[in-house]
Symmetry: C2
Subunit: 95 residues, 2 copies
Amino acid sequence: MIKKLTPDELSTLLAELKQWQLSEDSNAIHRSFKFADFNEAFGFMTRVAIKAQEMDHHPEWSNVYDKVEITLSTHAAKGLTERDARLARFIDSIT
Amino acid sequence: MIKKLTPDELSTLLAELKQWQLSEDSNAIHRSFKFADFNEAFGFMTRVAIKAQEMDHHPEWSNVYDKVEITLSTHAAKGLTERDARLARFIDSIT
């Protein structure tokens, strides 16, 4: 069973992931993305989808044309875990 | 300039697209989808994305694991048009 990050671990993570915002309940992180057009936005989503499937850890996300909104959380842990950190780092590495 | 469907055309369309729901302001249609897993859900989204790009008419949509929510509307016409009807028919044809 994957365990929720401690408050200290979460602070360290948020200092690292500067472009992600913590949800009010501290159980999720969110980032908004804007691309040149739909092709770029969906291309990005496809890269994230393949990584998510490999990790067996999936985002909650939405898309409108050139915009993508991503929320990460680990339902099994009812909060943020190292899996969210890894997926967020991957996402940051391709944007 | 693409024109908004008339109330009569909209009624006919809604009778045809039985699985889509009209928004309160009558300017959009919405359908929810559930798949076996993320692979199926994102595979479906990819087929819709390729069609949308070909049509130059894009959905507003969100995904959480095996679920996909799609809203169709034509911003340039501030309502529903024949483009939404065509994209909805394509989506129905692959589900």
